[in-house]
Symmetry: C2
Subunit: 425 residues, 2 copies
Amino acid sequence: MKKYTDMTREELQAEYEVVSAQYEQLKSLGLHLDMSRGKPNPAQLDLSMGMLRMDPFTLIHTRKGTDVRNYGELAGVDEAKELFAELLGVGTNQVIMGGQSSLNLMYDTVVKALTLGVYGGKEPWGKQGKLKFLCPVPGYDRHFAICQEFGIEMINIPMTEDGPDMELVRNYVETDPSVKGIWCVPKYSNPQGITYSDDTVRAFAALKPAADDFRIFWDNAYLIHDHGRTPDSLLNIFDACKAYGSEDMVYEFISTSKVTFSGAGVAVIASSEANTKHLLKQMGIQTIGYDKINQLRHVRFFKNAQGMRDHMEAHAALIRPRFDCVLGYLEQELTARGIGSWRNPNGGYFISYDGMKGSAKRCVQLCKEAGVVLTSAGATYPYGNDPEDKNIRIAPSFPGIEELAQCARLFCVVQRLVSLELLLA
Amino acid sequence: MKKYTDMTREELQAEYEVVSAQYEQLKSLGLHLDMSRGKPNPAQLDLSMGMLRMDPFTLIHTRKGTDVRNYGELAGVDEAKELFAELLGVGTNQVIMGGQSSLNLMYDTVVKALTLGVYGGKEPWGKQGKLKFLCPVPGYDRHFAICQEFGIEMINIPMTEDGPDMELVRNYVETDPSVKGIWCVPKYSNPQGITYSDDTVRAFAALKPAADDFRIFWDNAYLIHDHGRTPDSLLNIFDACKAYGSEDMVYEFISTSKVTFSGAGVAVIASSEANTKHLLKQMGIQTIGYDKINQLRHVRFFKNAQGMRDHMEAHAALIRPRFDCVLGYLEQELTARGIGSWRNPNGGYFISYDGMKGSAKRCVQLCKEAGVVLTSAGATYPYGNDPEDKNIRIAPSFPGIEELAQCARLFCVVQRLVSLELLLA
């Protein structure tokens, strides 16, 4: 195999004929597959069926005797708060059990900041004119959608191997009071699978925001979602904040959507005690409490944080071969040809693939025409606008291995084809 | 027994001595009871334990094969939408399954109207300056708290035996474009237990709001919560709206908080198809979907709307004796003495008691001093301000019958005492 960039025009043309034929052949298979979203596969969901098989009488009362079937306990039952406090390495008074969706908690927290204000803020964000959020890119489209929905201007922050470019972050946060937040997926970032280095986490903790109501949205979606040979480790941001007295700056989110059930897990927001108290006062107007039976179900199932970590090993065993399959194809089909770049992450749900400039939309389109749905090109950037049109988020978790192999084969053929088109143009 | 208002001052004084002694005696019992909230009693919650005992494999797939354990189905699973569409008498496309709290859905719907706007509205409520909501009084404190949280001015609308004073409602709604909504509990209203008459429902449907973004918040919390000998019937507001083409004006809410589990039921918003589509677009930014396993649990448990109605008969059998107990004491202790007024509702969770002007706060305080917690005086009015300080919401559902009898005895003694204080003052 030869690097495409080393080929003569004639060689490229010949290769184009070959790859076109391969693409047409794959297209003729009539595939119908979806790699667009980070959904667990059914075997992963089966791992938690024990949660639905519990003695119902163990799901009635908390340790202190509260009947969880009834109203009350806005912040969640003690046992559940303790489980997640242990997992996150924070105090029980820093934990609020939400509903089943951390996205919902993030959205609600932004909305409360906009309409009511955050702890220590002088007035609601929504009364302060233009608002900005920093968005490490590539990133998670649903974070960006929240900002877009409420007219919050998004500023791209390039990601490095250590996390967001902290020089740039510091510059924005410390000089512009209209910068109110930043979206972070600090461990196994969506989509690159990058874990923020200790220095990056410390740099976050050390920020001195120009705004008195700036918040870091620390979406720790993949905290325990290791599947690599050497799991990454992430510094506890609240520990880092202690040195700077900056705990009020952080909202941390986590859920069991990819631990138990994506549609029926539990979600958590952890924050400083002052933030937690403030949020609970606001949440007390919104609801009398979230689903406590489901909280207790999770507690009884996992028992403690180690129980959750052990459970994740079974997930890893199902996830790893899928990553290996896709990464194997990329390596085998593209590396020697000098096409694209990607990381081999130690956890998380995605492979972030960068093709040639101007290739992503065309690639997604050609895959779609051959029956494989990928995440929309651009989705990993605010406003759906990937300035170089090169990033594609590959989500290998859901399909079966054989289907996935077909997807990966198709993806590689399409990458070659689009690269050839660009080189020949 | 003699009416207090017919007593001479000497008779009042003598009665006061007797009743004071009774109060002190009850106080010495060291009661410790709570009648403040409309909470189901444990026996009611036991009625739905079958929901936690289901074969877990019946909780995985919907009829069309969707794995409910995974992400997706923002509006809820078809079966659940059908169940509530049947119950509410609306189309399946008019139903969205929310989380487990209808209060949360109401709050979120208000917030979306404030920040993003409603279907057909020119701009978000929050950009239109002063906002007003009409509040039939006495009413539900948690409705009022949402308005207060967001600085929406609340206007008291007196309740009649047929529902809110519709002359007044029409006047406000049709002349003042800053009136954006009205809170209604149309069946077995909280706290009076009044069901809106057909004429009242039709008058709602016939409203021609001055604002193009006015909404009726139709909190049908007690739609199937009959426990009287002759259940009330409520006209279907969407049917009534058809005659006027006013379906977009109504958001209807319901939940199973007092059908299955208060902390782990399902909540629903029903609206016009146009509203539903608009809301789903907004909700799609907030979450990927609500707990679908719990939706399926409810569907499997009830099968259909008749299954829910049948289930409610078992609730009624537990609720009715509690109402009879309290109403019996009120009748026996207060009627002949000419103290107070109240209704004997055919359903719902409350007895609304009106004492003498200026009696409510004192009554709640004296009950509290004797160990019985009632809903705060004033809570049934916006801003916690009962202009005549006379209304008390009695919530008989939670305590056991014997405890309830003690509460009711105490309540009657306190009512007599406070009335005597006022008559002697």
